[in-house]
């Protein structure tokens, strides 16, 4: 059993009076890809944001490789080697592809260069368009850029929100095959995806969220198929399906 890279313990988040997450605990180990699945508004994005401090939990603790992140601001958390790709891509429209990637550099320059090269290898389209301003990219290219940016800054942990949105299914599988390779070197991925097929195909473990609560969790292979997850979500029975 490896030491967890990221450990979320009993995270509860309120937006004003609205409960967005309720007592959610998730663990990510080095080299592991964990997928959060669930409907819109289930709290997937909120959980990712909580990791880097964009939202502040009202209860719960966040540990990153053995130290607490709770008291740190976003910039300091990111500098520990976390990369984040938000929902909706949020690439900088007035900056070129290269600038969009470079602006995510944190930490040692040489290592960042290696990660940048890695991104170009992963998405040759980005290298070809390196000098094209962000707003001119197609939706799919923007998504690649958003993922790429997270890979550049995430030397240890990569957070991806809806990475498959706008990518062709074949490309998604291809990209995630390589991300698995990248992860196998000791980095880890925590991703949120509505697309259960994608999640099942790429992740090592699945966490099912519904209405802010963790309703099922287990290794991806232990879910017999997406119908099972779909059933959990559709009927909404938090039937304590702790699989695996």
């Amino acid at each position: 059993m490896t030491v967890p890279l990221l450990h979320l313990d009993g995270i509860t988040v309120h937006y004003g009076r609205m409960l967005a997450l309720c007592d959610v605990s998730v663990t990510v180990r080095p080299g592991e890809i964990v997928a959060l699945v669930g409907n819109n508004g289930a709290g997937k994005s909120t959980l990712l944001k909580a990791v880097i401090g964009l939202v502040r939990p009202s209860a719960g603790r966040i540990m990153f490789s053995g130290t607490s992140l709770d008291e740190l601001d976003t910039a300091t958390r990111i500098r520990q080697g976390i990369g984040y790709s938000p929902e909706g891509r949020r690439i900088f429209p007035g900056m070129t592809v290269r600038e969009n990637l470079e602006v995510a550099w944190r930490g040692e320059r040489a290592a960042a260069r290696i990660r940048l090269a890695e991104v170009y290898q992963l998405f040759p389209a980005l290298e070809v368009n390196a000098d094209v301003p962000g707003w001119q990219l197609s939706g799919g290219q923007q998504q690649m850029l958003a993922i790429g940016r997270a890979l550049v800054s995430g030397s240890r942990l990569i957070l991806l929100d809806e990475p498959s949105l706008g990518l062709a299914p074949a490309l998604t599988r291809d990209v995630f095959a390589r991300i698995r390779n990248i992860a196998s070197t000791g980095r880890a991925v925590l991703m949120a995806d509505q697309n259960i097929a994608t999640a099942l195909a790429v992740a090592h473990r699945i966490c099912v969220l519904r209405a802010g609560r963790l309703v099922a969790e287990g290794p991806a292979r232990s879910f017999r198929g997406r119908e099972e997850i779909a059933a959990a979500l559709l009927t909404g029975e938090p039937n304590a399906a702790r699989l695996g």
Partner: protein
């Protein structure tokens, strides 16, 4: 010949306007807020130079670094008082707070320096040079060169440095910039400093030829505002072009009867500094009405 001379003067004036407008747009992009005191920072730059000269009589060029430093620091203070306490309120609050800061700056200058127009020493030396038969003031040339240098320097800073990338990222999407670990509040404070420093230099450059009085700010902010609007809200190069256009027009318009001798004498009275301003504002209204995206703007593009 006269046309060319006026053109040089117009470009010199426009260069100073451009620095002011550039700073205005930088803050606008970074915060979404209008800094109504930007014109007063031009005035402040002029008076800082005058205060420095009274202590240490040297040519204006020598003062330049000190003016940049002092007005830049002023910008940090400005953002701490006028922007950060209000950053989560509607933009109109910042608009009003900068109006208030403008009133304060104006009257501090009034109390300290009095209402009379004051002039800074020339940047290098007074006098004219003969360039291929064209007599041009050394000051105008120096103003153009310094402004060009600063605009270039600003371009290099924004486009070629890590800091510049972070500044731009903050301006384009503050939340995402924060999510990448950029310290956005620091970036915004620096943007204010950069912006006021540019305005301050504009004050230094203008105060020799055009003098400086404590109430000049309103005029300069209006020019910056107009430049930013006709250049396309939020576009740096557009603002520079807009500033040039305004200044050349302002310098040329009153001289039209001299330049076009066929104009009947009866209407010569219509060509004055004042009517130039009237025409300018009417043109602004026309631009707002017909092309809200600015003369040089493209409709679909987001601000960059």
């Amino acid at each position: 010949m006269l046309t060319l001379q006026l053109l040089v003067n117009g470009i010199a004036l426009g260069a100073a306007y451009a620095l002011c407008a550039l700073g205005f747009v930088l803050v606008l992009n970074a915060t979404g807020a209008v800094n109504f005191a930007q014109g007063d920072m031009v005035m402040a730059g002029g008076f800082v130079a005058i205060a420095l000269v009274s202590l240490w009589p040297v040519p204006g060029l020598v003062l330049l670094p000190a003016v940049v430093l002092i007005t830049g620091l002023l910008g940090l203070v400005f953002s701490a008082i006028g922007y950060f306490p209000l950053k989560s309120r509607p933009p109109v609050s910042v608009f009003i707070s900068t109006i208030a800061l403008g009133v304060i700056f104006q009257n501090v200058a009034m109390v300290t320096f009095g209402p009379e127009p004051r002039a800074t020493p020339p940047l290098l030396v007074a006098g004219n040079v003969d360039v291929g038969g064209l007599t041009v003031s050394i000051q105008a040339i120096a103003v153009i060169l310094i402004a060009a240098l600063l605009v270039g320097g600003q371009h290099v800073l924004l486009m070629r440095t890590r800091l510049g990338q972070s500044l731009r990222a903050t301006a384009q999407d503050r939340e995402m910039a924060a999510a990448l670990g950029i310290r956005v509040n620091l970036m915004i404070a620096l943007t204010f400093a950069l912006s006021t420093a540019l305005a301050g230099v504009a004050g230094l450059l203008l105060a020799n030829t055009y003098f400086v009085t404590p109430t000049d700010g309103t005029n300069y902010i209006l020019k910056a505002y107009i430049a930013a609007t006709i250049g396309g809200w939020g576009r740096l190069h557009g603002a520079i072009a807009g500033a040039m256009l305004i200044a050349v027009f302002e310098v040329m318009f009153p001289a039209l009867p001299l330049l076009i001798p066929v104009l009947p004498v009866a209407i010569h009275g219509m060509f004055s500094q004042t009517s130039a301003s009237i025409v300018l504002y009417l043109a602004l209204l026309a631009v707002l009405f017909l092309r809200p995206q600015g003369l040089f703007g493209e409709i679909a593009q987001r601000r960059a």
